[in-house]
């Protein structure tokens, strides 16, 4: 395996933050190089330097094929054979899948006009290679976030680069798609393509890694062949704690008292695309953690959006035995429901606002007297969550835009937990969160149920669902295909219900 790209002594300082401190990295062709580290360790920043989005602080060097190189911008990086899937999606919603994949390199016909047919055919081929069933002329805005992620992957692959960087590509994918992707990654490596792979999923890391490098607080703390690495060691290197300390035992606080009962829930106006959710009925008990599992597009998010009032529905929802009308998110919030959305960028956060302002948006009234915000109390409450969730930020006044992906996710969780809803719906709550923080989120959810809160967890991460749920509901093509108690819910049973 030939050495392709070397980074030496790379540092990067943002106002108030030293994101990287003299990092070294050696990347070889044909090798899958996993980059691990807790949220805010500097992984994405390092990758953005490698693709010319950021310029590193003076002092370091990047060598490609032994040559000192200054990477000017992403386009230059691609010319040098480096392409990337960014952690934060970078798609144009009002263009089609094919147009997104071939943006800025559209195939031209003889007339000099875009050869749409060829573009669609090429896109279809790339998508097929990844086993993705999305029509190339679908508007990207109509896709779910997981599907958008797959479009991004298809685009990165289609560049046929020497080095492909994947920054948490599977964070929004479910098991099935993630497996396809890891297979694809191995195949690419076999074709002598270098891969940098960032992930917080342990199974995945050990499945595909040839080499693992660990970053902590912007510094390289370890780099070794995957064969020499164990889970325990990796976790210790990443978060400086023992794996066994992380995940405590599951303590159920579920009661038999029905808090919310949903009957015959379905879409009011079925759209052309998407799962046709219909006839979904279930009960949520007080103090329970109810897991929702399904493949991408099974309609889990749609069900939650209906309960939360952001999507119109038919059927009834009753809370405490009384039927309630929920036609907007504020109706739902009024009935004590909270919703951690799966798409933090578009639905969860006001990126231009500070951590504090995003945090308090759900429950600002608590800090208000006569509508005037008490800034001190607001800041204190925010500080509390910054500390307890380990949100890495120079201050509560930092714009969330400048936080790392995982830390943004923590802000979304914090803003809903702080409101203390009776029913908390969390859709992919640990997307992009490191293993330490994940354990903390699980513990947090567990603690909340002990205080009487009921929680619905939607997750594509099957082990996560199994680990924390009291019961699991499986959705398939918009309908419930199984309700399993904690003891019946095994990996096999759940997968069977989801696919069978």
């Amino acid at each position: 395996m030939t050495l392709f790209l070397e980074m030496h002594g790379i540092s990067k300082t943002f106002p108030g933050v030293k994101a990287l401190n003299r990092v070294d990295l050696h990347l070889r062709l044909g090798e899958v190089h996993v980059l691990a580290g807790e949220n805010g360790a500097g992984k994405s920043t390092l990758m953005k330097i490698m693709t010319g989005v950021y310029r590193a602080d003076p002092g370091g060097a990047i060598r490609i094929d032994g040559q000192d190189t200054v990477i000017k911008d992403p386009v230059h990086a691609r010319a040098l054979g480096i392409s990337i899937i960014y952690q934060e999606l970078a798609v144009v919603n009002n263009m089609t899948v094919a147009e997104n994949i071939y943006l800025a390199r559209e195939p031209l016909g003889r007339t000099g006009l875009i050869d749409r047919r060829k573009m669609n055919a090429d896109a279809r081929a790339v998508l097929a290679e990844l086993d993705i069933s999305i029509a190339p002329d679908t508007r990207v805005g109509n896709l779910s976030i997981g599907q958008k992620q797959m479009v991004e992957i298809a685009r990165a692959i289609s560049y046929r680069s020497k080095l492909i960087i994947m920054d948490e590509p599977t964070a929004s994918l479910s098991h099935h798609e993630a497996t396809t992707l890891t297979r694809m990654v191995r195949k690419l490596a076999a074709q002598n393509i270098g891969i940098v792979y960032i992930s917080h999923r342990m199974d995945e890391i050990f499945e595909i890694a040839d080499r693992i490098t660990v970053l902590r607080d912007g510094e390289t703390v370890d780099s070794r062949p995957a064969a020499d690495m164990t889970r325990e060691l990796l976790v210790r290197k990443m978060v400086d704690r023992e794996l066994s300390q992380l995940f405590g035992a599951h303590l159920s606080h579920a009661t038999h008292q029905v808090l919310m009962s949903v009957r015959g829930l379905g879409l009011k106006r079925p759209t052309a695309q998407g799962a046709r959710v219909s006839d979904v009925s279930f009960d949520l008990h007080r103090g329970e953690i109810l897991g929702f599992f399904g493949l991408v597009g099974a309609g889990r998010t749609e069900v939650m959006e209906m309960i939360f009032g952001s999507r119109s529905h038919v059927g009834t929802i009753a809370i405490d035995g009384k039927e309630v009308r929920i036609e907007s998110p504020s109706d739902a919030i009024g009935h004590g429901i909270g919703f951690v959305t799966e798409d933090r960028k578009e639905q969860g956060l006001v990126l231009g606002m500070s951590v504090r302002e995003n945090f308090s948006l759900t429950h600002l009234a608590e800090y208000c007297r006569l509508d005037v915000v008490n800034r001190r109390r607001e800041t204190e409450a925010c500080h509390g969550f910054v500390r307890s969730l380990g949100i890495k930020t120079p201050s509560t006044e930092q714009k969330v835009l400048n936080l790392s992906g995982g830390n943004q996710q923590k802000v979304v969780i914090a803003k809903w937990v702080a409101r203390r809803p009776r029913i908390l719906i969390v859709d992919e709550p640990t997307r992009g969160i490191d293993i330490g923080a994940k354990a903390e989120v699980h513990a947090l959810l567990n603690r909340l149920t002990s205080e009487g809160m009921s929680i619905i967890v939607v997750s594509s991460d099957l082990p996560e669902i199994l680990a924390i749920s009291d019961r699991v509901i499986v959705l398939k093509e918009g309908r419930i295909s199984g309700i399993l108690g904690r003891d019946d819910a095994t990996q096999e049973q759940v997968m069977l219900a989801a696919t069978g």
């Binding site: 992403p74 999606l89 970078a90 798609v91 144009v92 919603n93 009002n94 943006l103 875009i114 685009r155």
Partner: protein, 334 residues
């Protein structure tokens, strides 16, 4: 999910049907419908509306606004705005007139007018991309500077040089029954509709407005795209100015003033979103047409002249509301 997985021959009727069904969702078709309804209503009450002469007159009357809206809509699609079109138009017509006055030939004079447009566009584009000014401020500045220059040059006196017969064809001539400005409008519409839909440049304009960051990361030279649309907008506006001058053979110091609102309105009525990423060239032309038909109708129907503006406003609101409500009912949650 009916769909065109492949474009084999047997699927063609299905695709056609699909295409027709999709049409309902297209903003410009709705506005076109609204315009046809307004036209039908007018012609119910007056026999003078549906005459070739009148219709051609209406077309010619809105052609300049429509031409400018073609450039404007491209700017709007990138997420920008060009307030300076009126000044670019006015100054171009003035400079062309001055060139004729100074004895230059037709082509030199036209070139000078176009040069004004290009200069405006470069100024706007560079202020926005190189300096980093918000488009509203940048083009407001050049709007003021352009107006000021027109006053400084003319001191408020129109310039009315002698011009060769051939030049006046541009504004006053006909191709068959169709006035030349209308022909130019249609030609520009067809060309730029094609450019926006079928060329790289066009797609990059949409991408820049849809998600500038993503577009730049993908390798779209968004700054160049923006520079280009501002240059196009101003240049097209200068063309409108030259056509206008050829029509009236008088360059007024106040010509084009305030027209930015009409031009932006045409684009917006035709479906362009000021947030960027959305809009179409044909929509903008149809938007200009709707306003033109209403203005004609008010005079033909001898409606209280003072009410014209109120009626125009009302009809626009109704037309676009119908459009919005229709797509709400048929569209689902976009």
């Amino acid at each position: 999910m009916s769909g065109q997985k492949s474009a084999t021959a047997e699927q063609t009727p299905q695709r056609l049907w699909h295409g027709l069904a999709q049409l309902r969702h297209v903003r410009e078709v709705n506005v076109l419908l609204a315009m046809l309804i307004v036209g039908a209503l007018i012609s119910l009450y007056t026999p003078y509306f549906l005459t070739t002469n009148n219709l051609m007159g209406v077309f010619r009357a809105f052609s300049l606004t429509a031409i400018m809206s073609i450039g404007m809509v491209m700017v709007i699609i990138t997420g920008g705005i060009d307030l300076s079109v009126g000044s670019a138009m006015g100054l171009a017509s003035l400079v062309t007139a001055l060139c004729f006055d100074a004895g230059f030939g037709t082509s030199t004079s036209i070139a000078a007018g176009v040069g004004v447009g290009v200069t405006f566009g470069l100024a706007n584009g560079l202020l926005i991309t190189a300096v980093g000014l918000p488009p509203f401020i940048a083009t407001l500045g050049t709007l003021s500077i352009g107006r000021g220059m027109m006053y400084m040059i003319t001191h408020g006196v129109p310039v009315t040089p002698d011009t060769p017969e051939a030049f006046s064809v541009l504004g006053q001539g006909y191709v068959g029954p169709v006035p030349v400005p209308v022909v130019i409008m249609l030609a520009l519409m067809v060309v730029f509709a094609l450019v926006m839909r079928r060329t790289r440049f066009g797609r990059h304009v949409y991408a820049t407005g849809g998600n500038e960051h993503a577009a730049r990361l993908s390798g779209v030279k968004t700054d160049r795209v923006k520079l280009a649309v501002y240059v196009l907008s101003s240049t097209i506006a200068s063309l409108a100015g030259i056509i206008g001058f050829s029509r009236y053979l008088s360059a007024e110091p106040a010509s084009g003033f305030g027209s930015e609102l009409d031009v932006i309105a045409a684009a917006a009525i035709g479906g362009a979103s000021l947030a960027g990423g959305v809009g179409s060239v044909t929509g903008a032309v149809i938007g200009a047409a709707l306003v033109g038909v209403i203005a004609n109708g008010v005079v033909l129907l001898n409606i209280n002249t003072y009410a014209q503006q109120a009626i125009t406003g009302g009809v626009i609101l109704i037309a676009v509301s119908l459009d919005v409500l229709r797509s709400k009912l048929t569209g689902g949650n976009g």
